[in-house]
Every structure is written in structure tokens, then in C-alpha cells.
């Protein structure tokens, strides 16, 4: 009888453990990596003209920082978890390239993971002390809110001179009329399905070359500067951003 009780208790223990371990919570981090058509890019490669865009223009990168928000996990049953937070990735200063979610996630299978490039309109018009401290704001004349990306460097212009460019993404605004007209330029980046295991690390790749490539072949001679007030340029950046990000390695 004693033996039976012991066996029963041991079985109970296993059953209990199994129940607890079905989808144990885990911390999840995102590791943002950057490349130029497959060649790894870090701030060590900055400040040297060594990349060639789709338009054949040689260029360097001197600054790259961008904002992502609202990382979203969706399960097969439709259950969705939205991480109501944001991360300003600063490649220039090598900060926030690894972003650990403020909340733990349940391990298991998710049919889709996504994030927002930039801020949606609700989030864009809040006041964030850390982003203000990083001078990330957009002037009220251009609708206010925050930058989505600042990519800067030098390129060789059509007079063979080294010239600065500032590829800044914001919400598109047309100031030509009596009233400002806006077009949304934030977009959702779908990473596809992932299997979250304990202490999961999800690698996100940004191919910087894509910002200059598809569907708009980017001519920095024409679109190198003063892009924030340029409505069409902002829409084109939005379009080119669709193929910039991809899911990389999933660890473990």
C-alpha cells in the first residue's frame, strides 16, 4: 500500500510538472543586425565610402538609428500578444541593438511575429522623455511626433564631389495646401512563424541597401537632402522599406 501511495505521488508530481511546463514563460530578446546586400555592417564600417546603391552611387554611412514598436506575437488560435513598447536602435553608438522584451512570453509556437517600423499614429503623438532626450522629435510644422529613422552619410554626387545625405523617415506630410495632409508611413514588418524556446533570441536583419533599391531606385543627387518636408520622398521611403527587414537566426 505504501508503495502504491509513493508511486501515485510521484506520478502526480510528473503530471503537475508537465502541466506547468506546457508553455513556461521565458524572456525574449531581439538582436538587430545590419548588412549591405549580405555584407555585415556595424559602426566599425561607418565613415568610409564603400557601398554602392542600386543607382550606382558610392556612399558611406555615418549615422543610423531607427525606431520599432509594438512587437506582436500571434498564436495559431488567434491569440495575440502585443508588447506595448518601443526600441530606438542606435547603430552609430552601438546601443539598443539587443532589445529584451519588458514582458516574458510563453514558449511555444507562434504563427507570426511582427513589429511596427516607426510609430502608429496613436503612439506617434505621445510624449516620450527618452526620445525627446535623444532629439528624436519632428517639428510641429511637419506634423510633430517622432522620426522613424535617421540614416546619414556621404555619397559621390554627379559632379564627383563628396556630398552629405540625410535619409530621414517621418510620417509623410503635404504642406502645400492650406491644411496639412498626412499619409501614414509606418508599416508592419511580418517576420513569419517562430518557435519560442527558453531564453529565446530572435535575430532581425536590416538590409540597408534595400532603402535605396525597390521599388524606387534612389537617386541621391535628387533625393539626398531636405527629405522630411518632401511628401513624395517619404512615401517612397515607406515603399522601399517593405523589403528591408527579414527574420534571421532564432536562438536556441
Amino acid at each position: 500500500m505504501k508503495k502504491i501511495v509513493s508511486i501515485f505521488l510521484i506520478c502526480m508530481l510528473f503530471v503537475s510538472c508537465n502541466s506547468d511546463n506546457d508553455d513556461p514563460p521565458t524572456s525574449v530578446s531581439f538582436n538587430f543586425t545590419h548588412n549591405w546586400d549580405g555584407t555585415n555592417v556595424t559602426n566599425s564600417e561607418f565613415n568610409t565610402i564603400q557601398y554602392t546603391n542600386a543607382n550606382g552611387q558610392a556612399l558611406s554611412i555615418e549615422k543610423l538609428r531607427y525606431l520599432i514598436s509594438n512587437i506582436t506575437f500571434r498564436k495559431v488560435n488567434g491569440e495575440t500578444t502585443v508588447i506595448n513598447a518601443y526600441n530606438l536602435i542606435d547603430v552609430t553608438n552601438n546601443t539598443n541593438l539587443i532589445y529584451t522584451l519588458p514582458n516574458e512570453m510563453l514558449t511555444g509556437h507562434y504563427i507570426n511575429v511582427s513589429f511596427t517600423f516607426g510609430f502608429n499614429n496613436d503612439d506617434n503623438y505621445q510624449n516620450y522623455t527618452d526620445l525627446n532626450s535623444a532629439s528624436w522629435n519632428v517639428p510641429a510644422q511637419l506634423g510633430g511626433g517622432y522620426h522613424f529613422m535617421q540614416l546619414e552619410g556621404k555619397f559621390i554626387d554627379n559632379a564627383s564631389a563628396q556630398t552629405g545625405y540625410a535619409y530621414h523617415c517621418i510620417r509623410a506630410v503635404d504642406n502645400s495646401g492650406a491644411q496639412q495632409v498626412f499619409q501614414d508611413t509606418f508599416f508592419t514588418v511580418d517576420l513569419g512563424e517562430v518557435e519560442l524556446k527558453n531564453n529565446a533570441s530572435i535575430v532581425i536583419n536590416m538590409n540597408i541597401a534595400e532603402w535605396f533599391k525597390n521599388p524606387n531606385q534612389w537617386d541621391l543627387n535628387l533625393l539626398g537632402n531636405m527629405l522630411m518636408p518632401n511628401f513624395n520622398a517619404q512615401v517612397m521611403m515607406h515603399d522601399n522599406g517593405q523589403n528591408v527587414f527579414s527574420l534571421g537566426e532564432l536562438i536556441p
Binding site: 555615418e62 510624449n127 522623455t129 525627446n132 532626450s133 532629439s135 517639428p139 546619414e152 552629405g164 531636405m226
Partner: protein
């Protein structure tokens, strides 16, 4: 074993009691920085090192040291000689002269809102990390105060007041350079400027003139002044990004600035963006004080930009020599910039020599 327990317990109790009675560690009086509302609402908390919290005694000691020429080699020069309160703790001279009358090659930086320098790089070229480390350098610089820390510490130790003041501030009357710079840094963190006309406007307390308002528009307009990328905006009351830029002063760079400190040629000619607060009191301008007036500064960005390999991409109109502001835009921009000056800061009795 059990029979010894009461004895052991008694001994432990006595020891514990003795410890409590004998150790009365002195703790100076903590005091929080008075954070202005616009700062509280819009930017993250100031940087205060865990090993140097603000205290009433530490700040008072730091203030006394800041105004005391005892820190110089011949007792003739105080920090305040090159950082005068009426100049927002800058120097009206282009270059400051040291105790031997030798001149440096940089304009004395104004001192305010230093606790909000998040990257903690100080000096025009960023060569000091942390406010405490910054304060080490002028004392021993041969063209500035030209002292040695051994001598300074010895003089302070022999002074009739300082040992007790250090004791009150730090719980020890043994004076060294670390405690001196900690005290000065505590005082410097209290130098907060947030009461300009523009601050009052943002708080809804006053109206600005049409010229000042239009000048702010020029400042924020990417197609005109385009100043905001480096000098902040209404949501960043620091009016600087505290980052290093080559702003097109020279075609041939002789003073390497951050480049000399980092050893990276990509940083040659880069200097820290200064805050635009208190410009009414901080002439001359730029790292080398080359411009005597705000008009000269505005003209530089409008028509005087010089190209070089490390020029910041944000100097977007360098090929045209600058942003080419109209005379009206220049005038309005100047009016706005002057609205960032804070009379109450330079007249604050807490910041003056007692």
C-alpha cells in the same frame, strides 16, 4: 549542546548591541536637485553618480572651492575666474589666460544643466568622462591653474576651515583630489537654467513677440534654419544634443577636436554642440571663440560654411555655402535665440561668490 545555547545567544546579543552603539556613521544631508517642470515633463532624469550623491554640505563645499583661488598654483586663480556667473559661467574673453598669463586655444564653456549631459563627455572635444573627472583637469593644466594635486590637497589640509568642511561633506577630514572634484561636481550640478522667456512661454506664463515666434519657425524649418537636429526643440529644453559635429567652420582642419581624443580621423574637426541657452551672456561663440556676435554665428550658417571631409551631413547646404536666410529670417532667428537667455540664472545668489 543545548546547555550552551543561552551563553552563545547572550554573547551574540552583547556583540550586536556593542556594534550598534559604537558605530555612528556620519551621513551628510541629502538634497535632491530641483528639477524644473519642463525638464521633468520632457526629458529623462539627470545623471548623478551613485558614489557622489548631492548633499547640502557637499554642494556648499563645492561652491566655496569653485570660487577659491587656493586651487591654483600661486593662489591667484579660481574656477570662477574663467567661468564667471554673469557670463553664464563662461569667459567673455576668447581665450582664458592661466596663472602665467598663457592663453589656451578654446573658449571657456558655459556651465549649466550639466547633469543632463547623458553621454557624460565634457569639454569641447569630449576628453573627460563625467563631471567629476572634468574638474580634475584645469587644476593641473600648465596653461590654466598650474597646480599639483599634492600641493592643493596640502594647502586645503592646512587651511583652518576646509578640514571640517570636508568632514561635514564626506565624513572625513583627510582631503584629496577625489573629494575636491566630487564637491565641485555637486555644486556644478546645481547650476540649472530653465527660466528663459521661451521657457515661460512654453509654460503658458507669457507671450512671445511675433519676431521671436517666427524665429522659432526658422529654427525648426528644415528648408530654412534647420537648427533643430543638433540643438533640440521645444520638447528638449537642453537646446543641445550634446553630440560632436563638424559644423563647417574650416576647410582645412588644424584643431582636430574629438578626432585627437578618439584617434579616429573621422572625428577630426568635431566639437560638442553647445546649448543655445544664455547666448546673450556667453559671447564669443564656437569652440575657439571666433565669432564675437550672434550675427556672425547666423551668417556663418547662412553663407559661411566651409566644406571638409568630416563635415556633418546635416550641414546640408554646404555646397551653396549655407542655408541663405533672408535678412528678416536672420533677425527673427536672433530674436528667438535671445529668448532662450535666462536672467534669473546669472543673477541667482546661490550661484555667486558668497
Amino acid at each position: 549542546m543545548n546547555k550552551y545555547f543561552p551563553y552563545i545567544a547572550s554573547i551574540v546579543f552583547i556583540c550586536t548591541s556593542c556594534t550598534d552603539e559604537n558605530v555612528t556613521e556620519y551621513v551628510p544631508t541629502p538634497i535632491a536637485l530641483e528639477i524644473p517642470q519642463l525638464f521633468e515633463d520632457n526629458i529623462i532624469a539627470p545623471v548623478i553618480p551613485l558614489d557622489n550623491p548631492q548633499t547640502i554640505e557637499g554642494i556648499a563645499l563645492g561652491k566655496k572651492l569653485f570660487f577659491d583661488p587656493i586651487l591654483s598654483g600661486d593662489n591667484t586663480q579660481a574656477c570662477a575666474d574663467c567661468h564667471t556667473p554673469e557670463n553664464a559661467f563662461s569667459d567673455a574673453s576668447r581665450f582664458s589666460d592661466g596663472i602665467d598669463g598663457r592663453l589656451g586655444n578654446r573658449n571657456s564653456m558655459p556651465l549649466f544643466n550639466l547633469a543632463w549631459n547623458y553621454n557624460e563627455r565634457f569639454f569641447w572635444d569630449g576628453r573627460a568622462f563625467s563631471l567629476e573627472h572634468q574638474a580634475f583637469q584645469p587644476v593641473t593644466n600648465p596653461i590654466e591653474m598650474k597646480a599639483t594635486w599634492v600641493d592643493v590637497s596640502s594647502k586645503l589640509q592646512q587651511d583652518q576651515d576646509y578640514p571640517s568642511l570636508f568632514d561635514q561633506a564626506f565624513g572625513t577630514s583627510t582631503i584629496d583630489s577625489i573629494l575636491v572634484t566630487k564637491a565641485i561636481a555637486q555644486f556644478e550640478r546645481t547650476l540649472i537654467s530653465a527660466n528663459s522667456r521661451f521657457d515661460q512661454y512654453l509654460l503658458g506664463q507669457i507671450n512671445l513677440t511675433s519676431e521671436e515666434l517666427e524665429g522659432f519657425n526658422v529654427f525648426m524649418d528644415e528648408t530654412r534654419g534647420d537648427c533643430f537636429h543638433c540643438h533640440g526643440n521645444a520638447n528638449n529644453p537642453l537646446w543641445t544634443d550634446n553630440i560632436f559635429h563638424n559644423n563647417g567652420l574650416d576647410a582645412i582642419i588644424t584643431d582636430l577636436g574629438l578626432g585627437k581624443i578618439s584617434g579616429d580621423p573621422a572625428n577630426n574637426g568635431k566639437f560638442k554642440s553647445p546649448s543655445l541657452r544664455n547666448l546673450a551672456f556667453t559671447a564669443p561663440y564656437m569652440h575657439d571663440g571666433r565669432f564675437n556676435s550672434l550675427d556672425e554665428v547666423i551668417n556663418h550658417y547662412s553663407e559661411g560654411l566651409q566644406n571638409s571631409t568630416t563635415i556633418d551631413p546635416l550641414m546640408k547646404k554646404v555646397a551653396q555655402g549655407g542655408v541663405h536666410l533672408s535678412a528678416q529670417d536672420k533677425s527673427n532667428l536672433k530674436a528667438f535665440l535671445l529668448s532662450l537667455s535666462d536672467e534669473s540664472f546669472i543673477n541667482n545668489p546661490n550661484f555667486k561668490n558668497p
